[in-house]
């Protein structure tokens, strides 16, 4: 009888450990990060480079307008197609160690404050990589090919690019679709209702459809 108790205990411990895998704690920064966030909002490339060189961490969150935001998240969230300086900021942050899999911020509902009992005493946490708070998904709010290229070069996991690929195809953003496919994003993934191939068909984009077929896209994923 005792052996079953031991086994049950071991299994439950293993389950808890497995369910905690990949969960990261919300990081919070200090005055240096506050300055970095301000410089990012002002799109001040020189100041951002100086603060990063001085050791400010772009991944850590500070209070901006009453919300927890990291400078890394702000740089992606405030990206617009006509802002080449912001692309420089993104590049500088990636070089200084910004996480290509995770951008902490609260504008897209990533960190739900105190929504559960666990969070009320452990603080906010979440899984990295996928979800609306992944850097690639934040970048896809205002898609700029240079940013996607920088994220891919910084070592983005191709498994986390499937939704962005479908989104780029639906928007007819050929360059971003090519960047993502070249980075190794699965052309037969089905992140939502559509596969990339079906998205290209629905958009009636023959050249993109042919490109996906050449990279192995099929009706049956």
């Amino acid at each position: 009888m005792r052996i079953f108790v031991v086994i049950a205990f071991g299994v439950s411990v293993a389950l808890v450990v497995a369910s905690c895998g990949g969960v990261e704690r919300a990081p919070y920064g200090g005055p240096a990060e506050q300055q970095l966030a301000a410089a990012t909002t002002a799109v001040d490339v020189a100041s951002v480079a100086r603060l990063l060189a001085a050791g400010a961490n772009p991944n850590q969150m500070v209070k901006v307008d009453g919300h927890d935001q990291s400078a890394w998240f702000l740089s992606l969230y405030q990206m617009r197609p006509n802002r080449p300086d912001m692309v420089e900021v993104v590049r500088a942050m990636l070089k200084a160690g910004a996480n290509p899999e995770s951008a902490w911020g609260t504008n897209v509902g990533s960190v739900k404050n105190q929504e559960s009992v666990v969070r009320s005493f452990m603080g906010p946490s979440r899984r990295s990589g996928s979800g609306p708070d992944a850097p690639l998904h934040v970048a896809m709010l205002h898609p700029v090919p240079e940013v996607v290229r920088a994220l891919v070069a910084a070592g983005l996991n191709p498994r986390h690019g499937q939704a962005a690929l479908v989104m780029a195809i639906e928007e007819g953003d050929v360059e971003i679709a090519h960047i993502l496919v070249d980075a190794g994003v699965d052309v037969n993934g089905q992140p939502g209702a559509n596969t990339p191939l079906v998205a290209a068909i629905e958009a009636r984009n023959v050249s993109l459809m042919t490109y996906l077929e050449a990279h192995g896209a099929r009706e049956k994923p």
Binding site: M1, F4, Q190, A193, N194, T195, L197, V198, I201, E202, R204, V206, M209, E213, R218, E219, K220, P221
Partner: protein, 154 residues
């Protein structure tokens, strides 16, 4: 907690006698091939490589390719696992009138709807509304007329 026999305590806890132990054991073992058959084998049978070639040819408006795929055993009404639409919808959205007619000749169902509830006619009509290029618009008009004729779908 009397476990006089050498069997697992699970049986005792579940209140099973020897006959039901064999019955549930057999069910448990048979569940594996049943699971594999349902989730691996059946989907593969439902959409073959010939179907894949049929869809490819229909997308590109290749009449000869469609005929070859049908000879190779493709089902003319096969539904794509991706969105539940048939090859007719693929030909219709790109305005390939000759392929649409060929598929209808071979028994394609003009009233079939995809997972999003749209028929080939709906797809072609929406594509026609978006089209600005005159020759492509004419091709889509032709497809829409052909599909209207073929199916009584409103």
């Amino acid at each position: 907690m009397a476990t006089s026999d050498k069997n697992s305590i699970l049986y005792t806890l579940l209140g099973l006698n020897r006959a039901s132990r064999y019955l549930y054991g057999a069910l448990f073992v048979l569940a594996v091939p049943a699971f594999l058959g349902w989730f691996v084998l059946l989907p593969r049978l439902r959409f073959s490589d010939a179907d894949e070639r049929l869809f490819l040819a229909a997308r590109h408006g290749a009449r000869a390719g469609v005929e070859q795929a049908l000879v190779a055993g493709a089902h003319v009404n096969a539904e794509s696992p991706a969105d539940g639409k048939a090859a007719l919808s693929r030909a219709a959205i790109f305005g390939h009138g000759d392929v649409v007619r060929l598929l209808l000749e071979r028994g394609a169902d003009a009233a079939a709807r995809g997972a999003d509830g749209r028929s080939a006619l709906d797809v072609a009509t929406a594509a026609r509304a978006d089209e600005t290029d005159p020759s492509a618009a004419r091709a889509l008009d032709d497809v829409v007329a052909t599909l209207r004729e073929a199916g009584p779908t409103p």
